[in-house]
């Protein structure tokens, strides 16, 4: 029983980062109706630039953290300009393919920056742990959860308490209508990319700090986890993205404990498979997939 609770708590903590990744995919899907496959690679390159500064110029861990976040945002803006803004809204497939191409490009850039495969990631927090009753908390995972909660809280205020949030939600609902109410949809979209890149940068930084190492494959890994978490929760639903991320974290933690490390990723794929068969729209989004069709049908 204690193991079960401990696993669940661990899963929730790690899952909070999955939730941030899933929110990134969800917001971009909302404003553009597209999936940005290069999201994970964006975060990976941002973190690589931070690591590169540390390896080549021995900057402090604080600078690494700051650089990781700012360069993730800049890479995110670069991706938006090159891959999404340049290709018109109607060309859904073309932008999906081009986001994959940009992913490869970002991965190449990272390999050029630091040609060896694996580097130690300079974490802000030293690894440590504390006990609370019978449970063990790892400091870096606890700070991951705290960071994620702060990000989600800030996002909630941004979306529901500011003009920008209102504009972003309006563009998500109908970008055409938003434009003809005077909202600059292109600008809102660019800001959305910067915003999710920042959140992704925080999630990536927290995950890499826990892993204490970075490889170019982190991009692939982050895209997988974020996409799976989004699909579990339901495409286009923000509460769904959070739930999906936590669920994924918890299931992985249990699989790791009861079945072993080799079954951890397999369990995630099985979970997604089961969800797609039983409830194709995910936990929260069963109506979202056909939202546009529904909205304009005569009642």
């Amino acid at each position: 029983m204690i193991d079960f609770v401990q696993n669940t708590v661990d899963g929730i903590m790690f899952g909070s980062s999955y939730a941030l990744l899933a929110i990134g995919f969800t917001i971009i899907f909302g404003v553009m109706r597209r999936i940005n496959l290069s999201f994970g690679a964006t975060i990976m390159l941002g973190a690589y630039i931070g690591t590169w500064l540390h390896v080549q110029h021995q900057v402090s861990v604080w600078i690494v953290a700051l650089t990781t976040l700012t360069s993730t945002v800049l890479v995110g803006i670069y991706v938006e300009r090159l891959c999404f803004h340049a290709i018109r809204r109607s060309a859904v497939l073309a932008s999906m393919v081009s986001s994959f191409v940009i992913w490869m490009q970002l991965e190449e850039a990272a390999i050029h920056l630091l040609p060896e495969r694996t580097y130690a990631f300079p974490a802000l927090l030293a690894a440590g742990s504390f006990e609370l009753g019978p449970f063990l908390f790892r400091a870096e995972q606890t700070s991951m959860l705290v960071l994620a909660m702060i990000m989600v809280g800030a996002l909630h205020i941004l979306l529901y308490r500011t003009r920008f949030g209102l504009a972003l939600r309006a563009v998500s609902e109908s970008s055409l209508a938003a434009a003809y109410m005077g909202i600059n949809a292109a600008w809102v979209t660019l800001c959305a990319f910067a915003l999710v890149s920042l959140m992704g940068g925080v999630a990536g930084y927290a995950i890499l700090s826990t892993d204490a190492q970075i490889t170019p494959f982190f991009g692939l890994w982050a895209t997988f986890k974020g996409l799976i978490a989004m699909m579990l929760g339901g495409m286009g639903s923000l509460p769904g993205a959070i739930l999906g991320g936590l669920l994924l974290g918890v299931v992985e933690a249990h699989a790791l404990w009861y079945l072993g490390n080799e079954y951890k990723d397999l369990s995630a794929y099985l979970l997604l498979f089961g969800m797609l068969v039983l409830r194709p729209g995910g936990l929260m989004g069963q109506r979202i997939l056909s939202r546009e069709a529904l909205a304009f049908r005569r009642v």
């Binding site: 500011t162 209102l166 209508a177 003809y180 005077g182 600008w187 005569r298 009642v299």
Partner: protein, 252 residues
């Protein structure tokens, strides 16, 4: 108010708009009519910046807006509704109007983070007044996608009017409506939309056109074939010929 000079729009070899000259004067309700495919919606899309014209100039209140993006034109004061309604489907009726009123963010970074005005302040009254005018106040907490079609069209009108634009384009405001619903829409345009502003209505239904328009402009194959007072235009031989053999019976 709005002036089009030799405006052209070509899609490949097809001239959807062929050198259109059109003047919309202050305070009028101009009916834009014509058979299907005659270029009415293309004209509206060109003026509101969905796509730029292939040639010619468009000016609004003395400002040349040729080739401007849609959101800039909207901020200048030209607002439209859509033939196939474009609401914010999972927002409530109230939020649809509210969002339209408060979400225009200017380019500055600081303006982005400026707090949305509180719902408690006087601004909610403006939204409520607007909903009252179109008869949707009782449905204020209903999701837009759950409204029946006539109510959705009224909500689109309310949303367009809430930012008090000098010029409003209505694209088939009575599309898909029964005669009784059409009469309601005509009354709404006459009593709520038309006073204190200029209005351009694209419509097939003569019941609506005859009831609300002060002037008509007829398009056929992308060309303007007639313009003038409703009675004169509808009696025009060219106009009757353009409609002959189509579904859009002029006497309906």
């Amino acid at each position: 108010m709005l002036a089009l000079r030799e405006v052209e729009k070509r899609f490949g070899a097809l001239a959807a708009l062929d050198r259109i000259d059109l003047e919309v004067t202050d305070g009028e309700v101009l009916g834009l009519i014509g058979p299907n495919g005659s270029g009415k919606t293309t004209l509206l899309n060109t003026v509101t910046g969905v796509y730029p014209p292939s040639g010619g100039r468009i000016s609004f209140q003395g400002t040349d807006i040729t080739g401007w993006k849609g959101h800039r034109i909207a901020r200048l004061g030209i607002v439209r509704t859509f033939q196939n309604i474009r609401l914010f489907p999972t927002m409530t009726v109230f939020q649809n109007v509210w969002a339209s009123q408060h979400s225009r963010v200017s380019g500055g970074l600081l303006a982005l983070l400026r707090s949305r005005p509180s719902r408690r302040c006087g601004d909610t009254r403006r939204v409520e007044e607007m909903l009252e005018l179109v008869g949707l106040l009782k449905d204020r907490e209903v999701l837009a996608k759950h409204l029946p079609l006539p109510a959705r069209r009224r909500l689109e009108v309310a949303r367009a009017l809430t930012i008090d634009p000098p010029l409003v384009f209505l694209d088939e405001p009575a599309g898909g409506m029964t005669p009784a619903e059409t009469a309601d829409m005509a009354r709404l345009i006459h009593e709520v939309v038309a006073p204190n502003r200029t209005c351009v209505v694209i419509e097939h239904k003569m019941a609506l056109i005859a009831g609300v328009c002060t002037r008509l402009c007829v398009l056929d194959f992308g060309r303007k074939i007639a313009e003038g007072l409703p009675g004169d235009v509808l009696a025009d031989a060219n106009v009757r010929e353009a409609y002959l053999g189509t579904d859009d019976a002029l006497d309906a």
